[in-house]
Symmetry: C2
Subunit: 323 residues, 2 copies
Amino acid sequence: MPERIAFPAPLAAASAASGSASVLVSGTIAYDDILTPSDSIKHALGGSGSYAALAASFFADTRLAGIVGSDFAVKDFERLKKRGIDTAGVNIVPAGETFFWRGKYHENYNSRDTLETRLGVNAHDRSPLPDAWRDSPFILLANDEPRLQHAVIAQLRAPRFILVDTMNLWIDTAQAELLRVTARADLFVVNDSEAQQLTGESNLIVAGRKMLKRTGARSVLVKKGEHGALLFHPEGMFAIPSYPVTALRDPTGAGDSFAGAFIGVLAALDRVDFAALRLAALYATAVASLTVESFSCDRLESAGIAEIEKRADEIRDMTRIPK
Amino acid sequence: MPERIAFPAPLAAASAASGSASVLVSGTIAYDDILTPSDSIKHALGGSGSYAALAASFFADTRLAGIVGSDFAVKDFERLKKRGIDTAGVNIVPAGETFFWRGKYHENYNSRDTLETRLGVNAHDRSPLPDAWRDSPFILLANDEPRLQHAVIAQLRAPRFILVDTMNLWIDTAQAELLRVTARADLFVVNDSEAQQLTGESNLIVAGRKMLKRTGARSVLVKKGEHGALLFHPEGMFAIPSYPVTALRDPTGAGDSFAGAFIGVLAALDRVDFAALRLAALYATAVASLTVESFSCDRLESAGIAEIEKRADEIRDMTRIPK
């Protein structure tokens, strides 16, 4: 059993006596070729589901639903299983090709171009979820085609909290379908440019508040890269800075692992109130900061609980305002 | 006597029994013509010294040193005096013209062009400070020509804390003189693009840490506009978000009033430790958010203690991470 973050008693007190509740992550599983201003990598394990499930696994029992081709390497399954992730919901398509993405980051790492996408098996419909998984309480619909996200929602029997992530492509090409998904979301996560794209508002505060109304999501989190994140909740706003990363290597998966850690913390606490969301954003920030320090999931996989806790503590220290 | 912020006992405990220590603000006093994407104003009271002194006056006894021409209106002196600001150190040059600036903000309010500058009396050397002012403990060298900032430092007998502000123009044209000033600074305040300009570093964490070494300042604060501010201190980093402004009208003076409130809080506390600097950044953020909601100093002048305290409390709430 891989190590897990243990939460202090006060917040975790309400947790189920049986331990943390299960997380179901649905997302893409991919191989990535990545170019950054200083380095490159080929055929690296990626995809929103891979990053998110690995991140969630530091906090709670994690189930991963997705799809791969027969080219998917056993060693990559092993990487997921080593962190305790249940991959029974990953469809393997005979003679299919795993989703492939090739991208290039610009000089400042803040933007990137997609050079090539081969959807491969990712365009296929998925098999139904394993029956027991339909009772999963904590759901992350990691970035994927909204039609596929919706198909997962339709199978859920007792969702307690649904976190929805997306990307600019779906806002452009499948916005109506996306809004059908976000209407079911307890938390909808976007980055700053996506928030502006969805609302036409350049002021992020206005954009965030508009999204609460427009998307139907109960709360909205706007990620601002190096500037941290803003959480818009019916009870108010929460602002958290990013962890001070100085060894940025590859931003790929930062958002996915943010979302994965977020849902993992909620499951570990078995709570979904505003305070729990704040704590989830803290750990999500810490985990995402590890992801970007290496290519692929390497740093994320090798991170220990102690490292995650240390970064969370540093962020606490950084934000402390004296009485 | 205008109203003042009273700080809670624990932090203010070390304050001089005689009340808060004096703040000396040295800076420009100007008339501004300003164009924003939605509105414009002509001949409005501006200048780094005006904004900063008004902001400081909410927290401590404030002295303003600067220079104006004989066109400077008595009513504008009255505006400063009404907030208890001592203007004995403002030189009045007969037949001189007060510093004039005309600028235009771009669509997103994040950048601006200077359309016209008439230095007028601001190019003159200043009279020596009133003798008693040379003992002022809390000094703000608001944005001005570094040569003039240095001339103020040379007159100080017992500075306890020197805060230095600047702008991109001086980094471009008078960097050596500026570094002579920052070498005496307890805190050097810049915005994100100035930090990048000074260090050649796009990563703000790296840039901030480099500035600690390169500028000689004991601590450095990087303002990031809507994304808040980062304080780099020998004891660590502090990050604070901006107040969620949705009614942005004119960003002019935001940085000046941030610096003014900052030094005012330190004087009110009569403390210069890391915790005091954090608290100063909180109030500075609250005050700057008021400044940008009107043209000129109008909103800043009319702000009451209750409004400032309310915004400071909101920022505290926004940043609270549960245990």
